[in-house]
Chain length 278, copies 2
């Protein structure tokens, strides 16, 4: 019986704290590091971030968009990053926000969650716009292989909430419907907690009883997007230990390319988050 | 002044008809062609489909999921397919359904719509779950460069419509909100019709006045998913000529790997659709 992603994540958070470091090689960040906006710059950046946070971050979260902009060469770098992180026992969450109809999601699930794929991560983010039935290939493969899926509920941007705050036929908001549906899946299933949600720390606390999700929370929006460790703690108080994973990207990456600077910044955020979530 | 995607698509549909051929190298399809489920099988399949439909299809639509499952090597094949299609003047629509927050969408827009990217297509599909404000990098780059964006409205799967049928604060369904927002963009903008929507032919006709979109419709669900050319015509009657692009995948691909068989199947669908949409 394979160990579930929920359990693996929980152990890792208990050992290292609740920090997820976003690996976001945007053009701005590369130029800020005085590196070229090229495949070479991308590779230097990715491996440097991994190396600097290897014993501080529970999880690294490569933002797939910033690799995809270099096409197959960018994906080659992403594959190297994933392999190196796995060698170092660091969990990798592919921030891909993929989704399509069910038959197509077989392909995406294979890309991100099948160990035969060079892009295989420990978990992947997915979008619910095409419905939960369509997400079945992700949920099935994750549960079978001890990997995880994070479904978007309320994202960290507050510039347009029209869809996430729309009301379903059951008269709940879309973002709360996602929470309920994931909680149902985690109960209905063998309770392994392979399925989590994305819930931005920049957003209001939902009416949903968060500790009852039965799976982990990925919490973006911390740092440059405005949320603090205290914001995270206020939303997720009473959630089981090791289920809240707070993601910080630019606020740490700005300390680079200096290795010690990156590590210190990550450690400060980790300690702040650990303290607030106690 | 660069020619808009809407105009380029319209010319191409007027010349060749309204058929978009989905390039969907799923494991099942490759095995059905008696080809290995490998990068070699993927490459053979992709180039064979392009070659067979080159003078029949207005557009080819590679389904990115089925390339991504082979990681960087799969993307290398996708890049070759895009380059070959462009050499043959075939429009390429990347069916990627990408979306993230705005700063991240800069990366995705660059990947799929910036001519310096090896993945650059004529148009790309995107998801509205994180809002239209976040989609701005796609809309801006498309408009500037004569490329297109298709925003998901009502997708072809009818297995879970919870989000797409949810009601916004303005008391319209999410799928109709998408239609209205795109129509507003096409008016507010310079009216070039660079922004279209995805509206499945397997779904009910929306209340929205379809001819007023000001941009093209990508219509999946035709063929194996159940919709016919007549279904397409019933939903999109009175839409301006050259704005409705019907996408057929498996119903054509099953005729492969024989080149003439593929071409005949594509031609039959093209003629059916042309006849129905007259």
């Amino acid at each position: 019986m394979v160990e579930s992603f929920g359990k693996r994540l929980q152990e890792r958070i208990r050992a290292l704290g609740p920090l997820c470091v976003g690996v976001d090689p945007s053009r701005e960040t590369l130029l800020g590091w005085e590196r070229p906006d090229s495949v070479e710059g991308l590779e230097f950046f990715s491996l440097r971030v991994l190396e600097a946070v290897i014993d501080v971050a529970a999880v690294i979260k490569p933002q797939v968009a910033f690799f995809e902009r270099f096409g197959s060469e960018g994906y080659r770098v992403l594959e190297r990053l994933i392999a190196d992180a796995h060698d170092a026992q660091v969990l990798v969450l592919g921030d891909a926000k993929r989704a399509d109809i069910g038959s197509t999601n077989e392909g995406y699930a294979e890309a991100w969650l099948d160990e035969r794929s060079p892009l295989c991560c420990d978990a992947v983010t997915v979008s619910p716009y095409l419905g939960f039935v369509a997400l079945e290939p992700f949920l099935r493969l994750a549960t079978e292989s001890g990997r995880g899926v994070f479904v978007l509920s309320a994202t960290s941007n507050s510039d347009d909430r029209v869809i996430q705050s729309a009301r379903t036929d059951a008269n709940e908001s879309v973002e709360e419907m996602v929470l309920h549906t994931v909680a149902d899946f985690n109960t209905r299933d063998d309770g392994l907690g392979s399925v989590g949600v994305v819930l931005g720390a920049t957003r209001d606390k939902p009416h949903f009883n968060l500790p009852s999700l039965g799976g982990p929370y990925l919490v973006p929006g911390v740092g440059m997007q405005g949320a603090t460790a205290d914001n995270v703690a206020r939303i997720f108080d009473r959630c089981p230990q090791g289920t809240v994973l707070a993601s910080v990207s630019r606020a740490i990456l700005l300390a680079g390319p200096d290795r010690a600077g990156l590590r210190d910044a990550a450690q400060r955020w980790r300690d702040d988050l650990s303290g607030a979530l106690l």
